[in-house]
Symmetry: C2
Subunit: 314 residues, 2 copies
């Protein structure tokens, strides 16, 4: 598994801690999909599995699990069937997978390559891609619900988990950010406008992931908020690196069409700040993120993830 | 309001009972959208409002509210702020609005007219339509949650409501049905295949609506199941009428492009059974639905809705 995570991130750094978390996410994802797709026809299940099970970095579920552990969740967990914390982590990957499928559609970014493979609409047709994407949202809600029950969480916390995820996915978060992103194409943009787009498009779901981990661990509100700020800063850093890789990365390495942002006239860190300043900003943001971790108990995995976000090559 | 509901249904029949329910749904929908879209930019809020607030029949929320009353919910409700049962009813309309937006997309049925107005992608562009549609799903989940809290429902019932809606919306329900529907285009289909498509595409959400009303009223399981069967039969009857109107209806009256099913080679009741047998089937299904109501307390509104479904002209 160390190899799988290493390869996905395009670096040699992750080490055994993240590899162990990665293995838990991979196992839970298989279980969640089997359960959710039981009894559905191949026409539906095929594109959904393809969308979710591609060789992704699984950064968001890793963040959720790492935050859960940093906030003491692992220590306080009663022994249960399966791995409910990892199942909860899958919910954010389902929402992320939805966003990738819809981002790539012909009427959106019109992209043919993702995670080193043909995009879902290229492989299964556009209608199947639209519907598979939309089907992932209720699946994510069910997954949160069920995992919250399996973790023995109080209803108020289960409800909080669902609110955090729905807010991040909805008009105020990811969906809003995607729309602002499309509207900004071909227009000059300030750093403030850019970060408003990226906050919604990317940082909202990453921040939701770590906040959900903290809530599931029954962390005090102050810790939930602090991890939320960690997530926002890390999400912006992630997006800065993404923007940089689109300019400097090789297609075979990054697993998606390179130069796509430039071709579409997207608002990106390099287009607004230039390449060098963007690299500087990504490092600053990751540093900002790491400083939020001070005082928390075991933040080794979150620190490793913050490091990987900046140093990744795909 | 009697006039608004009458006009929406294209008949003179509904009477004061349904008009009162319709007024509650309209008021609650305005409140839910205001709350959900607070703080989001016009770029996001515009297409969402347009998608939801068109002159629709509101059949699904009416079914939910009517089932809630038939199962004794109104009698047992404690006085609360606002109208939480009507707010809950809005959740199914949000999911329905999502399905219409996505159904009409250029990559799906490619339709330009809906509810007598240009479709969302014609008015706001395809990317905004895809995203507005997707944003309606988390909005619906949040609406269920909040309404369940306001109704003072036990967590297990709140959870059940969310499961019912997510199942109806997801791969096993509506999304699956839409995909089967697209796959069946241009192919001969049996009545069994046709009803499998319609069960998912249309009947799942109608059945979910009445089941949710019953669960919210704390009805015994037997009543929830019986109303579920009512909803499935009514949903199939509704779809049969829809298919018939596509052939026989005037565009100005039905508010959407007529002859669209035939043009797309869709699997419909008339294409499989012929027009006359389809009319017969729609009446039989509505009768089947009504028989499930025997023994329930106050089913006047559900019976009126069943009548309207068959006699509607749009």
């Amino acid at each position: 598994m160390a190899t799988a995570v290493t390869e996905a991130l395009g670096t040699r750094r992750p080490g055994p801690e993240l590899a162990a978390l990665g293995a838990r996410v991979a196992a839970a994802l298989a279980v969640v999909l089997d359960r959710e797709l039981r009894g559905t026809s191949d026409a539906v299940a095929g594109p959904v599995r393809y969308a979710v099970l591609g060789p992704g970095k699984r950064l968001r579920p890793l963040l959720l699990l790492a935050a859960w552990r940093a906030a003491g969740g692992e220590a306080g967990a009663a022994p249960t069937e399966g791995d409910p914390a990892a199942a909860l982590a899958c919910s954010v990957e389902l929402v992320h997978a939805y966003s990738l499928v819809h981002d790539d559609l012909p009427c959106m970014d019109d992209d043919v390559l993702r995670r080193g493979r043909p995009t879902v609409h290229v492989r299964f047709g556009t209608p199947a891609a639209v519907l598979a994407g939309a089907g992932l949202m209720p699946m994510a809600a069910r997954t949160v619900w069920r995992a919250a029950g399996a973790l023995g969480l109080e209803p108020v916390r289960a409800r909080r988990l669902l609110s955090i995820l729905a807010d991040a996915a909805g008009a105020g978060g990811m969906v809003g950010g995607q729309l602002l992103d499309l509207r900004a194409e071909g227009r000059a943009t300030t750093r403030e406008e850019l970060e408003r787009i990226h906050r919604g498009k990317t940082a909202a779901l990453m921040a939701a992931s770590v906040r959900m981990g903290a809530v599931a661990a029954r962390a005090p509100e102050e810790v939930v908020e602090r991890l939320g700020r960690f997530g926002v800063a890390l999400g912006l850093a992630f997006q800065a690196v993404d923007d940089i890789l689109d300019v400097t990365g090789e297609e075979a390495e990054i697993g998606k069409t390179s130069g796509r942002d430039v071709a579409l006239g997207k608002a990106t860190y390099p287009s607004v700040l230039g390449l060098e300043a963007s690299e500087q900003v990504s490092r600053e943001l990751a540093g900002l993120a790491r400083r939020e971790l001070a005082g928390l108990e075991d933040t080794r995995e979150l620190e490793l993830l913050a490091e990987l976000v900046v140093e990744r090559r795909r």
